[in-house]
């Protein structure tokens, strides 16, 4: 990790005053021990006209990984996240920010007894960081620094020049230039914005992080057009990351087995944010259509198959006619989030006794799911590979056999109406297929025929005369007595 800070000067205001401002003598190379490695400060040039201070941080990647880790079994959560192959020794990140604040702490506060007037005044500055980890790329780098009075040069670094097809890395070569800022301001910008750009797993957690942000952001953060993103990235990710890390260790290992990343397989729920996401109008309409479909038959014992984070469960709980709500999902993390969102552990016993969250899989039959009045499969089937769909059909319609089954799935014809969706793209990265109304109808009719249900279709959302509604819903129904016999015979 490396950065340089340069300034220009004249005989009256020599550039070498940078040494006073930083409290580091341009004549020497100095070494400082920081919490994550050794920081070196040296001056590649120190003339009246131009002076450059360099900060080089040597981290020990092996110590970084081993910190706080159990032996052999990799007990602690960071064992799985931490890799020996790690960009931390090279790319500017929170580690460099911490080193910066340690090595230049006085300068960061704007204190300089030797040259107080120069510390208070703006000076021509040029800061170079050859590799900044920047999630959001050069555009975000510019959006963060430009409003603060910097001329920003942000060039993406290619992933591998031998494989041009791979495109750019998430690193940016950053040059900041300004005549309008004090050194202290410049350092504070870096201190806050380097970790924000990195937006990665933090290696430092301290309870007074909010105070630090307020102090370092004083005078510039409140008015920054991106202050929301800055604060969120700086503060909010830490706890949820730690929690996620613990919750999905097993999955992390399975991903590693396959040389892939945990995000590839643990994608059942969106990245967790502390704030409740505002439901999209379509999601609300979908839930209303489902609730209506359940209420009209007087269903009391209801299955929510593929319940995700429990949005529908929450609605079902609000209606006392649903006396038994069993919510099933295959994702342990989705269930953990659902339990947290529904506040199951703090719910009254009577209320809590109405709801049950189960880990289960719809590609396996499951005795716990038999005997229900109704089942909901909302936005579920499209997450299965088509060849696996018959297993779900049997598990739900053949084995669990609720009286009524509501299935919703996107209507792919409507996709042309989503302005943000590129042509030919599915609505969610994990959708294995999206069907037209005709395809859905053929599938539903075949399932109904095979398992002794009748089926009708309902639009959900605005029913476009040309392409139909955004969501399509099939309502399956079976008469209990006659159909049971027929089915038992066929089985």
């Amino acid at each position: 990790m490396f950065l340089t800070i340069s300034t220009r000067g004249t005989a009256a205001t020599p550039a070498t005053d940078l040494g006073f401002l930083l409290h580091k003598n341009p004549g020497n190379a100095q070494t400082f021990s920081t919490s994550h490695g050794t920081a070196h400060v040296f001056y590649p040039e120190a003339e009246v006209g131009r002076c450059t201070a360099a900060l080089l941080l040597e981290v020990d990647p092996i110590a970084l990984i081993r910190r706080g880790k159990g032996k052999g079994r990799g007990g602690a959560p960071d064992a799985a996240l931490g890799q020996y192959v790690n960009d931390r020794p090279y790319a500017a990140s929170s580690l460099l920010a911490v080193a910066l604040s340690t090595v230049f702490s006085t300068a960061l506060r704007g204190v300089c007894k030797a040259r107080p007037e120069r510390a208070a005044a703006s000076l021509p500055l040029r800061i170079e960081v050859p590799a900044v980890a920047a999630k959001g790329g050069p555009d975000l780098v510019r959006a963060l620094f430009a409003p603060l009075g910097w001329d920003v040069t942000a060039e993406p670094v290619a992933l591998d020049p031998q494989f041009p097809g791979w495109g750019d890395s998430r690193y940016v070569r950053l040059v900041l230039e300004s005549e309008r800022l004090t050194l202290a301001e410049a350092l504070r910008h870096l201190y806050v914005l380097l970790p924000v750009l990195d937006d990665a797993k933090h290696y430092w957690v301290s309870p007074d992080e909010v105070d630090k942000l307020l102090r370092a952001g004083e005078g510039w953060l409140p008015g920054h057009p991106e202050h929301r993103l800055i604060t969120n990235r700086y503060l909010s990710r830490r706890w949820s990351l730690t929690r996620q890390a613990i919750e999905r260790l097993e999955l992390v290992r399975l991903a590693e087995t396959d040389d892939s990343e945990v995000e590839d397989i643990d994608n059942a729920v969106e990245a967790e944010t502390e704030a409740e996401p505002r439901p999209t109008p379509l999601a609300v309409q979908r839930r209303e259509a489902i609730l209506a479909g359940l209420r009209e038959t007087g269903a009391a014992r209801v299955l929510d198959l593929g319940c995700g984070e429990g949005h529908l469960v929450r609605e079902l709980l609000r209606d006392a006619r649903f006396t038994e709500i069993t919510a099933v999902d295959v994702s342990a993390r989705a269930l953990a989030i659902a339990a947290r969102r529904l506040k199951l552990d703090r719910m009254g016993e009577r209320q809590a006794s109405r709801v049950r969250l189960l880990q289960g899989s719809l590609t396996y039959t499951d005795k716990r799911l038999t005997g229900y009045d109704a089942a909901v499969l909302s936005e579920v089937i499209e997450h299965l590979d088509l060849p696996r769909l018959p297993a779900l059909e049997y598990a739900v319609f053949g084995a669990a056999r609720p009286r009524r089954v509501l299935v919703t799935t996107p209507n792919v014809e409507y996709n042309v109406r989503w302005e943000t969706l590129p042509a030919g793209h599915v609505r969610h990265g994990d959708h294995r297929f999206e069907w037209t109304r005709a395809e859905f109808a053929v599938w539903a009719a075949a399932v109904a025929e095979r398992y002794g249900y009748t089926v009708e279709f309902r639009p959900v959302g605005p029913d476009d005369p040309e392409v139909g509604p955004p969501t399509q819903m099939a309502v399956f129904h079976r008469d209990t007595t006659e159909q049971d016999k027929k089915e038992a015979k066929a089985a």
Binding site: Y43, I62, G74, G75, V85, Y90
Partner: protein
Amino acid sequence: MSGTPTGRSLPVTDLSLVVLVGATGSGKSTFARKHFAPTEVISSDFCRGLVADDENDQSATGDAFDVLHYIAGKRLAAGRRTVVDATSVQPDARRQLIELAKKYDVLPIAIVLDVPEEVCAERNAARPDRAGMPRRVIQRHTRELRRSLKHLEREGFRKVHVLRGVAEVEGATIVTEKRYNDLTHLTGPFDIIGDIHGCSAELESLLAKLGYHDGVHAEGRTAVFVGDLVDRGPDSPAVLRRVMGMVAAGTALCVPGNHENKFGRYLKGRTVQYTHGLAETVAQMEGESEEFKDEVRRFVDGLVSHYVLDGGRLVVCHAGLPEKYHGRTSGRVRSHALYGETTGETDEFGLPVRYPWAEDYRGRAAVVYGHTPVPEATWLNNTICLDTGAVFGGKLTALRWPEREIVDVPAERTWYEPVRPLRVDAPGGQDGRPLDLADVTGRGGVETRYLGRVAVREENAAAALEVMSRFAVDPRLLPYLPPTMAPTPTSREEGYLEHPAEAFAQYARDGVGRVVCEEKHMGSRAVALVCRDAATTAKRFGVGEGPTGALYTRTGRPFFDDGAVTEEILERLRAAVTEADLWERLDTDWLLLDAELMPWSLKSQGLLRRQYAAVGAASGAVFPPALAALEAAGARGADVSALLARQRERAADAAAFTDAYRRYCWTTDGLEGVRLAPFQVLAVRGRSLAALPHDEQLALLDRLVEHDTSGLLQTTRRLYVDTGDPESVRSGIDWWLEMTGRGGEGMVVKPLGALVRDGQGRPVQPGIKCRGREYLRIIYGPEYTRPDNLARLRGRFLNHKRSLALREYALGLEALDRLADGEPLWRVHEAVFGVLALESEPVDPRL
């Protein structure tokens, strides 16, 4: 109840609930101690102590009996005889125990200790904790006991032994009796014969075809009849005569069918309806002698509902039997064995709707039965129905055991019109029975032949469920997952973390002389299931509509999102198999191959870009300006020489790292540039090849690669090493040095004999990997070779990884064996799922 007063021997069934009945102080505990194993006996006093810290606290009696019934229930469910040591002098206390026995379908047996009141009082007085017990308690017990005596059998006890007086109690001995249905000591071989229904001619043809002459098999095989010998068909008396003769001669066993049961009631003069073909039997019996009728009546009366045979591996009954009823003895079990379970409904033909019990069956024992006519006898979850409707014009079917071979003869004609058409009983139709969640979760582990029970923890099963459900290929096409492999013990050699010397030394210590070193390919693990054609996939693996196999990763995910690409690779493989004549040579129409698919970048591009290339990019960007700045500072006279030297080394390490990962990347266009290196044939039809020595394996695979004209297949270079010969070991090391020096990934050392145990009979590692020095930069980071880093990394712990590798290997072998034995899908899947679950165990991922 015979015997002399001093030496009574009391028969007690091996699986039963034995209730000791006697007043306090009558000597029940002493009696129990003398005659039964300590763990067989549960005493109410002990349970009182468990819940109340005081064996005599009468206020804890309710809770104590809850505990007693709970423990007894667990024991009986597990098939263990249980002795209840409580007074049990009150009818209500006994009623609860009889209900318990019924619930678990075991015989309730009462042993009464009728000892004079004075003796009881004397004994209690001698015990400090009971000395204060009022005399009236003993009096009440004795009174209640006397009142109970004559009701015991009516209460439901199937055996009642009353021991009167101290002498008789002390002189008694217990004789353990086997249950009638327990013929586990008979190992056959057997020929199990389906429903005959009076089809005498077909029976004779079948017996002849099976090798019986006049009821006797030359090789001493035993016939087993699943019942329904009579009714509907042309000559029930002849069938009875043949079967009864064979049973009497000891060349056959027979269980009763529902038709024998009804016929037996007719013979005893009960009122029965002459329906479902009984009228025919009655008419045919008219000409028979009273003597024969008597004989038939006795025969039918003596039939045992079901048999457990061949060490518990085989259960024969008429209508199928869930595992919990195997070897049990109750009215419910008999009724189940004869009639099966019904849903309580009737179908449009007025016949009872049968509960599909076989669909739920998970037992280890094969259940062979009849009762429900089906067009073909097919295995379903280790059960098979042999009623192929001989009397309805179908065929008469036998199953050879343990060969599991079907032998049948066609019906000479339709002797009786069926009420409803024959149909397949397999649920889910052609797709076979779907998997149930209970197949893979909540089981706690998997029994393996190689390593005994392998535990699977719940959190690991949960993770596996997620991946299996959302990402894996169809489980029917996923009969195996490859195990993880342990690295070589850590090397002390300067500059090396792994070095083959340790691997050879390890095998030498394990007593393995001959090993093969196989080149470690620079790609991703892939398992290929190659079927001869789509029809084979449909027939053997039950997956219709297209695929001719599967190609999947270490976690069961399809290698290619596009099924057409998979098919193209399978097509090339298939062509090579055909050209190499391996279908015939291996007598199979499918192959399961363990292989490496290259390049690595093909599958793991995401990881390569986000992690490996990223590190290369960041280091590539940061070092040039940093080195330039240091050089400038040095030129100005600052003392940065040590720092500069160190940074130059770091830059060189980072460049070496970049070189290392680049070797795993090359661009592919469609299948152009894609290579597959098979290194083991795991299984073919009916056989697991996991135990085939590696030189034979490689010979097969060389043949395969030679006959590949598409350029897809790549050979695996190898070297054979004798771990006891220093020169040979040296050549192995040189080979590795040379290979890894050119950028190779390393090698895997395997015992030549594949499946090998050490001197103490413990399985040895099936393979040990030795990774190249440069390759390990990708694993341990660019700077791992620096001496201080190496020193720290050498403190790695291998034991868990080694244990994990063995356990996963055992599960993989088990899956292959189960596949070879034609076991049901859930049994194969259980083991495969176990491998995936174990892969999520916490172990250092760099090992």
